[in-house]
Amino acid sequence: MSVWQAVAAVSLGCYALKLAGLSAPRRVLDHPGVQRFAALVPVALLAALIAVQTFTGDRALELDWPRTAGLGAAVVALLLRAPFLVVLVAAAAVTALLRQAGL
């Protein structure tokens, strides 16, 4: 497989996967079990993404202090009921400053 073939396969496949979810037949989407699963599954996946993107690197668990502190700053901002964008800026600023400080 050439690199271009892999690029084409991934591009087409990723789009097809997105379209498949949106195109599920009404009959399937209206099933109460499917509705409950679909309503709850983003919570599990987004929580998993928070954990994986914060605490892993290169397929191993990894504690990156600036990133962890940045997420901590987001928690503090959320507890203080800060607006959404302030939460993001606080997280990025703390991470950037700690990296700058060489942690």
Binding site: S2, V3, W4, A6, V7, A8, A9, V10, S11, L12, G13, C14, Y15, L17, K18, L19, A20, G21, L22, S23, A24, L29, V34, F37, A38, L40, V41, P42, V43, A44, L45, L46, A47, A48, L49, I50, A51, Q53, T54, F55, T56, R59, L61, P66, G70, L71, A74, V75, L78, F84, L85, V87, L88, A91, A92, V94, T95, A96, L97, R99
Partner: protein, 226 residues
């Protein structure tokens, strides 16, 4: 009146779209460093448009791994977008040919912003604004990163690697911190999902840990049917 109810969705969408979109610099730089051409990096951002899958393929190219296996791994990372689609289908009113352009925008960040909105109108606005701003920023910065490679600063210097997790946390926060059995159930699902993904990380290929997190939903559903 309509503007006031929709403006938070627009603000959230632009914030997430632009902040996360800037990480396209990291992808462009990583892709070219890995051995992809600038055109290949741009094609992936234009047509695959799902960061995790794109990084995964670049990683395999860099490591000189089997490209077919690498493509399968990248697609595995894209499976969750299909699951998001199940949820967004009704919210977006995605019928007929309009599904075709909307589908391209179904990714982590757009799903997160869409689900955070209080009503269907804001949900649609949030989705479209996040999709548009993220798509434009991600593709522009992919090109910049690919062309500049070593000259462009690493986005990690600006702490942009924490923007994704912080976005998802901010989105989930109000749903997780509520009281009552519903919020308790959501906390169990979130904690379970995070724990499963971390536990699976050392043992499974990229993409699988986050998908396995869906098992947390099944256990809650089976424990107390509907």
């Amino acid at each position: 009146m309509e503007m006031t109810t929709r403006s938070p969705a627009i603000r959230d969408g632009l914030g997430v779209g632009i902040a996360v979109g800037l990480s396209g610099i990291a992808f462009g730089a990583a892709a070219v460093t890995a051995g992809l051409s600038t055109a290949q990096a741009c094609v992936l951002s234009l047509f695959a448009f799902t960061g995790a899958s794109q990084f995964a393929l670049a990683g395999v190219v860099a490591g000189g791994g089997n490209l077919a296996a690498g493509a399968v791994g990248a697609l595995l990372l894209g499976v969750r977008n299909g699951l998001y689609g199940l949820r967004l289908s009704g919210l977006l009113g995605a019928r007929g040919w309009r599904r075709l352009p909307l589908a391209h925008g179904v990714i982590d960040e757009t799903t997160a912003v869409t689900l955070a909105q209080p009503d269907a109108e804001s949900a649609r606005t949030g989705f479209l604004v996040t999709f548009a701003s993220l798509y434009l920023t991600w593709n522009a910065t992919t090109l910049l990163g690919a062309l500049g490679t070593s000259r462009v600063a690493d986005p990690a210097v600006f702490g942009l690697d924490v923007v994704g997790p912080a976005t998802f946390l901010a989105i989930l926060w109000p749903r997780l911190t509520g009281s009552g059995p519903e919020a308790r159930e959501l906390r169990m699902i979130a904690a379970g999902g995070a724990a499963i993904a971390l536990a699976a990380t050392p043992f499974t290929p990229a993409g699988v840990p986050v998908l396995l997190a869906a098992v947390a939903v099944l256990t809650v559903l089976l424990r107390r049917p509907s």
